[in-house]
């Protein structure tokens, strides 16, 4: 099992989060990649329900999780951490130059062309739920998102993965799309839904998810 208190690689994660975020917090992306390459890591837990301690901002200037460190680097931003883990490992990034660069492009597309629209929808459906403006704004955010996902779906076509074999591009696209699990939007694009299902069926994903959820379960607040 890659979670090992004596490992040299360390990630930060939250001790507990509400149900809407469980299984989506971004340390999952790093746990998943580490599982794919069988690299052990230890976890340092932070409290999500209070502001992060000031010294944490030295590691992660925006106070988010995950931050990562190993014997070589100290890093934040899940995209940068994934690239660090993948850069010399063909299981996460093809060695062929063109496929390698295009896999990076898919990872960045997930982070910069898809996720920002999804976050707009989460702001409406979760973080500001019930506010009057969310009702009026939602249809146009959904339309914009579905247009973008339509193009993503077209680019995937009937391929198993975006570029040859599974890479950090697929990992990030799937991690980003999973944030729509409270809606039926991904289901409107059967090949994207199948991509998510294929990726979630990977043993490495299953282990990463189980490990994140186990921490939350262990620290669950007592019912009020």
């Amino acid at each position: 099992m890659p979670v090992d208190p004596n490992a040299t690689a360390e990630i930060t994660a939250f001790r507990w989060v509400p149900d809407f975020a469980a299984g989506l917090v971004r340390d999952l992306r790093i746990r998943w990649a580490l599982e794919e390459i069988g690299r052990s890591y230890r976890v340092r837990l932070l409290d999500a329900t209070n502001p992060r301690p000031l010294e944490y901002f030295q590691e992660q200037p925006f106070g988010q999780v995950p931050a990562y460190r190993d014997e070589q680097v100290q890093l934040f931003e899940s995209g940068a951490i994934l690239l660090h883990l993948a850069i010399e490992d063909e299981r996460l990034l093809p060695f062929d130059r063109n496929q390698r660069m295009r896999s990076v492009a898919w990872m960045i597309a997930a982070l910069n062309s898809v996720e920002p629209i999804i976050l707009q929808l989460l702001a409406i459906d979760i973080f500001n739920r019930g506010q009057e403006w969310t009702k009026e704004r939602r249809p146009q955010v959904v339309e914009f998102l579905e247009t973008r996902l339509g193009k993503l779906s077209e680019a995937l076509g009937d391929k198993e993965w975006f570029e040859g074999h599974f890479s950090i591009g697929d990992l990030m696209v799937v991690a980003v799309l999973r944030q729509l699990r409270h809606t039926d939007i991904v289901g409107k694009f059967p090949n994207l839904a199948a991509l998510v299902a294929r990726a979630e069926a990977r043993p490495a994903f299953q282990r990463a998810l189980a490990d994140q959820l186990a921490v939350f379960k262990q620290h669950e607040p007592e019912a009020a």
Binding site: E77, S78, H84, I108, A109, K151, L152
Partner: protein, 231 residues
């Protein structure tokens, strides 16, 4: 390197500010001293299948270099930074931190800036925007505050200018001169330092020289369209 070809618009709805994303790629190419050619599209051609084959989202830029066809300006800049000296430090740990700032720009800072632009320009005439705007401004202010605290009085985000600074300055440029950034004088000065670089100036002049297209009828009124900014 085979001379790369980038795809750019010959007209942009940004009133001469050079905010479309081919500017970032031009700037990166100028920083490493790599000559390039430009394939110009008229506004609207980005949606056609010839360009969609290069960029699946139908945006600019696309980047072609021999048999490599690349999209997403962040990925193109990563590739350029790996191709020549000047944008990535040689030390692997320092290089990883430059990459970290690229992602911070693309995923932690740019989305909150878009939010403000969308709210103010694209959705500015909806009644409900007034109720939403304070949330957007608070989120942006908090993110920029964190960035400002980290930058402190340093010249660049790490020891020397890197692809991380190139992208961070690029994502901050749309709010240059706005109240949102005026609260953070060190960020304003940081952006000013970035755009004062000779490579930026060369990129901007070439971009400007390429703006030869007619204003499309839909833009005869001064109004932006989402994909003009997010291209």
């Amino acid at each position: 390197m085979t001379i790369p070809v980038i795809t750019a618009y010959n007209w942009s709805p940004d009133r001469g500010r050079g905010l479309v994303r081919d500017m970032r790629v031009r700037w990166a190419l100028e920083e490493i001293g790599q000559p390039y050619d430009v394939r110009y599209l008229s506004w609207g051609q980005q949606k056609e299948s010839a360009h969609r084959a290069r960029n699946p989202f139908g945006q600019v830029p696309a980047y072609e270099e021999g048999d490599l066809v690349l999209f997403e300006s962040g990925a193109i800049i990563f590739h350029i930074a790996e191709s020549g000296p000047g944008l990535f430090p040689e030390d692997p740990a320092a290089r990883a931190r430059a990459i970290e700032w690229m992602f911070a720009a693309l995923n932690s800072v740019e989305p909150v800036i878009w939010d403000l632009i969308i709210a103010k320009i694209i959705e500015g005439d909806h009644d409900w925007t007034a109720a939403r705007l304070p949330l957007v401004e608070a989120r942006l202010g908090s993110r920029l505050g964190d960035l400002s605290a980290r930058l402190g009085d340093s010249e660049w985000l790490e020891d020397s200018f890197s692809a991380g600074d190139l992208l961070m300055v690029s994502v901050l440029r749309p709010i240059e001169g706005s109240d949102a950034i005026a609260k953070f004088p060190n960020l304003e000065a940081y952006v000013a330092r970035g755009v004062a670089r000779p490579a930026f100036k060369r990129a901007f002049d070439k971009w400007k020289a390429g703006q030869t297209g007619e204003t499309p009828a839909a833009f005869a009124q001064p109004k932006h369209e989402p994909e003009g900014e997010a291209a």
